[in-house]
Symmetry: C2
Subunit: 354 residues, 2 copies
């Protein structure tokens, strides 16, 4: 077992522990947000955490109706923009809390009067010290360079913040069900990649490893899942994988789809799944054979992993589960290629950009 | 000459015509924005126009200090979010003005009380009818499927809107110099790709065509240039090219850099150029030989195209010029591969997503 594989399998327990331990911290943050009454939200993050930020953007816009932007740190650190922070909420998301550019944005925002909240996994980091409030991810030490359990813990913490602000929502009601769904998702995905059912999970691993490239597609909440799966494949298997919104794919990059281009589609059940289907159909018409990873609606489709347990979550929580097959895919491709997913060449756990 | 190549060469004239003709429209939009006093900005766009939106985000945040988000239409069209639009400015950017999802967002925003402005190239489009104000790009009919002149015209129109709001800025002062700089940039880049100087432009075309893939890197204002160059290569040459912020590249995807991976870096002069250099150095350390396209500071560097004329523009206007070598590169790669850049397989000029 790789360290990465071990850490993926810790995820249901990590989320359960976080749910058990962070109630008071989430309530304090929610109370501060209610008092501050922010008019807009800016989220600052990099790499894997940037995908958690994209998830949070959809979550805040759909659940709270507040406009959200993803901050580019260079606007502050290099261009020294005259930002008016006064009625903003600035969320910083980082596993290590150590990248200087993220800390600089939070410091500027706090000085400028914004409410600042850090979501981070390492206690006592510069980012945590800079922010007015912190929500701890509680994923434990992450030893693999490729972030897996800390990513899902970030999603859970961000969902927890929003749920505390809309306590009567489907989101808040479903959060306690997440750990069990993650456990069942891991079982289903592990079996699929081990060759169970139609065994197409094994074929997907082989196709990506041989092609050295992949398209990963979704839309809405699970755009984060597509982008993060593509990044994991880059980091651990040196696969040239790119994640796309199915709508953006149709505006140009669909030109790449072909028989030689493995395509993975994350398709939640419901209206968003139906909106994603045309892009998958176009890819199929161009000779690609997309693999579909989704919920009960894809059961029986060829080359599909249908995860029954997703039916227990509203779509806005499915990214916490759907990333698990994405992470297992990246790990399996790396192992198949004889690479160590735990220590990818040239990467370090903490990246310090300015 | 391809249609795409012809349209690229029209760009200096297109921008000059727009500058000559849109003064009154820009002043009207600026006056409406001043009256509305927006507290936040949301930009909605897809494909090539989404890269113009990314440029506008940096421009508005650095010149005006207002927070900007890039809207995901699905938040409105599929998730039916309870957005409070009341003190927002919503900018929609689209060549055709015909994608239903963009129009739906503008309609919802206008109904909700936001100030809505369309930047579009085709008069009388649904998007123009939906928005309260329009700035016409005046690029003329674009016949090639791959957008080139309409992209630069969108950048110029967006820069024009911001310049009208900060008339005493370097930005406003430099705008009239843009057409001449674009003309000189085209000359320098055309000569480079034709084998002049060290002839490395020709080698870059060959390297990308043979590898079938590329990394394209920049940061800040020219992140848009990197993303748009990568998209052009995908569309016209079916090259698996991905654009990256140099900072994000260091947070994982640098794992891909190697001798077999052509890397193009757009490097403006000044502090941002210096901030981009470490990523190029890391790529070089991994065996990649990055080609650098920039201003006077890269003169004399190996594998570099140094465009003297860029010295006449503040960095915030260099994306209008630096995209020209990117577009010429994509066209040259397609021609080298025997593909028609004017009618890429499977793409149409107008894409209707919902």
């Amino acid at each position: 077992m790789t360290i990465m594989g071990d850490e993926i399998r810790q995820i249901p327990g990590v989320v359960q522990e976080q749910l058990d331990a962070t109630g008071a911290a989430l309530e304090a943050v929610a109370e501060a947000v209610r008092r501050a009454r922010p008019r807009w939200v800016s989220i600052v993050a990099r790499g894997t955490s940037d995908h958690a930020a994209i998830y949070a953007r959809y979550l805040i816009e759909t659940q709270l109706g507040w406009p959200v932007g993803l901050a580019s740190p260079s606007v502050t650190t290099i261009y020294h923009a005259p930002t008016d922070w006064s009625d903003g909420l600035v969320l910083a998301v980082s596993q290590s809390g150590r990248s200087p550019d993220l800390t600089a944005v939070v410091e500027a925002a706090r000085r400028g009067g914004a409410l600042t909240v850090a979501v981070t996994n390492v206690a006592g980091s510069p980012l945590e010290l800079a922010a007015a409030h912190t929500v701890a991810c509680r994923a434990g030490e992450e030893r693999a360079v490729a972030a897996t359990k800390s990513y899902v813990a970030e999603l859970a913490a961000l969902a927890g913040i929003v749920a505390a602000l809309v306590p009567d929502s489907d989101l808040a009601a479903a959060l306690p069900r997440v750990p069990a769904v993650l456990g069942r998702t891991l079982e289903a995905a592990s079996a699929w990649f081990a060759g169970a059912g139609h065994g197409r999970g094994l074929e997907l691993v082989e196709a990506v490893a041989v092609a050295g490239r992949a398209l990963v597609v979704s839309r809405g909440f699970n755009l984060a899942t597509a982008l993060e799966t593509a990044l994991k494949m880059k980091e651990t298997g040196r696969i040239f994988a790119e994640g796309y919104s199915s709508a953006d794919l149709e505006h140009g990059p669909i030109a790449l789809a072909s028989a030689g281009f493995p395509t993975v589609v994350f398709r939640p059940d419901g209206p968003m799944g139906a909106a994603i289907d045309p892009a998958a159909a176009k890819a199929r018409a161009r000779g690609a054979s997309p693999w579909i990873i989704g919920g009960v609606e894809v059961a029986g489709a060829p080359d599909a992993l249908a995860i029954d347990a997703l039916a227990e979550l509203p779509e806005c929580l499915t990214p916490l589960a759907l990333i698990l097959p994405g992470q297992l895919l990246a790990e399996a491709v790396a192992v198949r290629l004889g690479l160590s997913p735990d220590a990818p060449s040239g990467l370090s756990k903490v990246t310090l950009t300015r």
